[in-house]
C-alpha cells in the first residue's frame, strides 16, 4: 500500500510527463526570447542557438522602442485588460452570488443562459458588434474593447464563481443577516474574501485571451491612439518583408506585463486549485 503510493517508478514517470509538458509549453516562448536578442542573420542561420557574443544584437529592441509609440500601446493593452478584468470580476461575482444565493423564478434558466456564452464564441457576432459600436460612436475607443471583453469573460466567470459561492457556508451569511449586515456588505465583506482563490483563477483565465487578442483591436479600435500591443507588433509584419528582430522583441516585451499579473494571481490560483484537495 505504502510502497505503491511512493513507488519510484511512478514518481519518475509523473515527473517525466510533467517536465515534458513544461518543455513543450515553454519552447515557443524560449525561442522568441533567445531570437529577440540575435541579429537577423543569426536568427535565420541557427534559430535554436543561444545568442553568442558574435550574434548578440539589440537591434530588435531598438527598432521597437524607436518606431511607433510602443509605450502607448502597452498602456492601451494594460487599460483594456485591467478594465475588462475589473468589470468581469465584479459583475461576474455579483451575478454568481445572486444565482447561488437567492431562490427566484427562472434561476436555473438564467444560469444556463449565462453559461451558454462559454460554448458560443463571441466572434460569431463580430459584424453585429461592429454595427452597434458604429451606431453608438464607440469605434476606435478603448471603451469598445472593454465592453466586448467584459461580455466575453462573463460567462466563464459566472460559471466558476457560482460553483464556489455555493460552497460558502450558509450559516455565515445568515449570521451576517441576523447581525444586521446588508446583502451588499454580506457579499463584499463575507463572501468575496472567502472566494478569493476562485477570483484569481477567473482573473487568469480571463486576462490571457484579452491580452493576446488581435481580432477585436483590429476591427474595433485600429487607430494609432487605441492600438494594443498585439496589434502594434503587426506593423513589423509586412506583406513582403517582415522585420523579425522587431516582431520578436515586441512579443518578448509583451510577455512581461502579463507575466507580472500572472505571478500576482498565481499564489491564489494554486490555492484555488488545491482547495478541497488538501485539507
Amino acid at each position: 500500500m505504502n510502497s505503491a503510493r511512493h513507488s519510484v517508478f511512478r514518481s519518475v514517470a509523473a515527473h517525466g510527463i510533467l517536465i515534458l509538458y513544461t518543455v513543450i509549453a515553454l519552447f515557443p516562448v524560449f525561442v522568441i526570447v533567445i531570437n529577440s536578442f540575435k541579429s537577423r542573420r543569426a536568427i535565420f542561420n541557427e534559430p535554436l542557438a543561444l545568442p553568442t557574443p558574435e550574434t548578440f544584437d539589440l537591434i530588435g529592441y531598438q527598432t521597437v522602442l524607436k518606431q511607433g509609440d510602443f509605450f502607448q500601446y502597452f498602456l492601451n493593452s494594460m487599460t483594456v485588460t485591467v478594465g475588462s478584468l475589473f468589470f468581469v470580476l465584479m459583475f461576474g461575482a455579483m451575478a454568481a452570488f445572486a444565482l447561488s444565493e437567492y431562490r427566484f423564478r427562472g434561476n436555473l434558466l438564467m444560469g444556463l443562459y449565462l453559461a451558454l456564452g462559454i460554448m458560443i464564441p463571441i466572434r460569431l457576432g463580430t459584424v453585429a458588434i461592429l454595427q452597434i459600436m458604429v451606431a453608438s460612436g464607440l469605434v476606435n475607443t478603448l471603451t469598445a474593447l472593454v465592453l466586448v471583453y467584459t461580455a466575453q469573460g462573463l460567462p466563464l466567470a459566472i460559471f466558476i464563481l457560482s460553483e464556489f459561492m455555493r460552497s460558502v457556508s450558509d450559516d455565515l451569511k445568515n449570521a451576517g443577516r441576523i447581525d444586521g449586515l446588508s446583502e451588499y456588505k454580506i457579499f463584499f465583506r463575507l463572501v468575496l474574501p472567502l472566494v478569493r482563490p476562485a477570483l484569481a483563477t477567473v482573473a487568469v483565465f480571463t486576462m490571457i485571451p484579452i491580452w493576446n487578442d488581435l481580432w477585436f483591436p483590429l476591427i474595433l479600435a485600429p487607430s494609432e491612439e487605441t492600438k494594443t500591443i498585439t496589434l502594434g507588433s503587426q506593423v513589423f509584419i509586412g506583406q513582403f518583408v517582415t522585420n523579425w528582430n522587431a516582431v520578436l522583441a515586441a512579443l518578448g516585451l509583451a510577455i512581461v506585463p502579463v507575466l507580472v499579473l500572472y505571478l500576482i494571481f498565481s499564489r491564489q490560483l494554486i490555492r484555488g486549485i488545491t482547495a478541497g484537495a488538501v485539507k
Binding site: 457556508s169 450559516d171 455565515l172 445568515n174 449570521a175 451576517g176 443577516r177 441576523i178 447581525d179 444586521g180 449586515l181 465583506r189 463575507l190 474574501p193 472567502l194
Partner: protein
C-alpha cells in the same frame, strides 16, 4: 420579555410542503427544544422564527407583535449556528460587537456588553484572536458570546453541539444550561440528539415530517408518550415494540422500555437467543433476537453476564408497558 407564539405556521418550497401547520407557544424564560429525525423540518421552523426563511402562511408573534415580515436583524433575536459561523476576518472582540455596531450602539456601551459576555464565558484570554486560531469548542463559546452581547428577547440555537467531540459536547451543554439560568432568557434549541433535548429542555417539541407529534416536559414525554414515534424517539436505548397478539393482548403494539424487561435463563414469556452483549460498567445491555418480535433490548443495572447465542427468557413488566393501536396512537386505559 420574550414570549413566542406560532399559529398555524406553514412553509412550502415549490410544491413541497415542509412545515404543515404548526401551533406552538414558548413562554417567557422557557427553554424549548425542537427534536426530530433529520428532514423533519425542525431547522426550517427555527429559521422561519429567525426570519431567514419566509413564512408561507400563518403568524409568528413575539411578545404579541406579528414579526412575519420583519428583517432578521430587527426581530431582537440572536442565533447560534452548528458551524459557529464566526466572521473569519474579525477578532473575537469585533465578532461579538458587530451586531451592536450595526444597530448604532455607542462604542462604550458595546465594549461594556462585550466585556460582560466575555467574563460570563471565560473568553478574556481569547479576545484578540481570529476564529482560525481557536479550537471548535472555543469558537462555539465565542458564537454563544456573540448571541449574549445583543441581549435579545429570544435565543435560537441550531444544533450548536453537533460539530463538537463528545467530552466538549457535555461541557458546553452544561454551560448552556447555566447560561439559561443566569440570563433567564427564552431559548429555542434545535437538535436531533434526544439526550440534549432531555437534559436541557423545559419543554420538548417532537416533530415529524413537518408536524408536531407531541409537546411536553421531558419526563412527560418519557413516561406518557402519545404515539409510537415519540415513544421510540425519546429514551435511549430505544423502547422495545412487541406484537400484542402473540402475548394474548387486545392492543396492536406493546411498548416496553429496555429497563422494564426481566431476563432469565430458565423461565419467562418470550424465548430468544442472545445476539450481542454490551457491558458499560454501570449497566449491561443485552440484545436478544426473538422469533415473534425481532431484536429486543434488555437493560440491567450493574454487571451481568449472558452467554452469546445462549437461550434466554424475557418477561415484560405489564404495569410499565404502553399500548398502541394499529396507527401507532396510544391506547390509554
Amino acid at each position: 420579555m420574550g414570549t413566542l407564539s406560532l399559529s398555524n405556521v406553514t412553509k412550502t418550497f415549490g410544491k413541497v410542503e415542509v412545515i404543515k401547520g404548526v401551533d406552538l407557544t414558548v413562554d417567557d424564560g422557557e427553554f424549548c427544544v425542537f427534536v426530530g429525525p433529520s428532514g423533519c423540518g425542525k431547522s426550517t421552523l427555527l429559521r422561519m422564527i429567525a426570519g431567514l426563511e419566509d413564512v408561507t402562511s400563518g403568524d409568528v408573534r413575539l411578545d404579541g407583535d406579528r414579526i412575519n415580515d420583519l428583517a432578521p436583524a430587527k426581530r431582537e433575536i440572536a442565533m447560534v449556528f452548528q458551524t459557529y459561523a464566526l466572521y473569519p476576518h474579525l477578532s473575537v472582540r469585533d465578532n461579538m460587537g458587530l451586531g451592536l455596531k450595526q444597530l448604532g450602539t455607542p462604542k462604550a456601551q458595546i465594549t461594556a456588553a462585550v466585556e460582560k459576555a466575555a467574563t460570563m464565558l471565560a473568553l478574556e484570554p481569547l479576545m484578540d484572536r481570529r476564529p482560525s486560531e481557536m479550537s471548535g469548542g472555543q469558537r462555539q463559546r465565542v458564537a454563544i458570546g456573540r448571541a449574549i452581547v445583543r441581549t435579545p428577547k429570544l435565543f435560537l440555537f441550531d444544533e450548536p453541539l453537533s460539530n463538537l467531540d463528545a467530552a466538549l459536547r457535555v461541557a458546553t451543554r452544561i454551560e448552556i444550561a447555566r447560561l439559561h439560568r443566569e440570563l433567564d432568557a427564552t431559548m429555542i434549541y434545535v437538535t436531533h440528539d434526544q439526550v440534549e433535548a432531555m437534559t436541557l429542555a423545559d419543554k420538548i417539541v417532537v416533530l415529524r415530517a413537518g408536524l408536531v407529534e407531541q409537546v411536553g416536559r421531558p419526563m412527560d414525554l418519557y413516561n406518557d408518550p402519545d404515539n409510537t414515534f415519540v415513544a421510540g424517539f425519546i429514551g435511549s436505548p430505544q423502547m422495545n415494540f412487541l406484537k400484542s397478539a402473540s402475548l394474548g393482548l387486545s392492543s396492536d403494539t406493546l411498548g416496553i422500555r429496555p429497563e422494564h424487561v426481566a431476563i432469565s435463563a430458565s423461565q419467562g414469556d418470550i424465548e430468544g437467543r442472545v445476539s450481542h452483549l454490551e457491558k458499560l460498567g454501570g449497566e449491561t445491555l443485552t440484545y436478544v433476537r426473538t422469533e415473534a418480535h425481532g431484536l429486543l433490548t434488555v437493560r440491567q443495572f450493574g454487571e451481568h453476564d449472558h452467554q452469546v447465542d445462549g437461550t434466554v427468557w424475557l418477561t415484560p413488566d405489564q404495569a410499565r408497558a404502553f399500548h398502541f393501536d394499529a396507527d401507532g396512537q396510544r391506547l390509554r386505559r
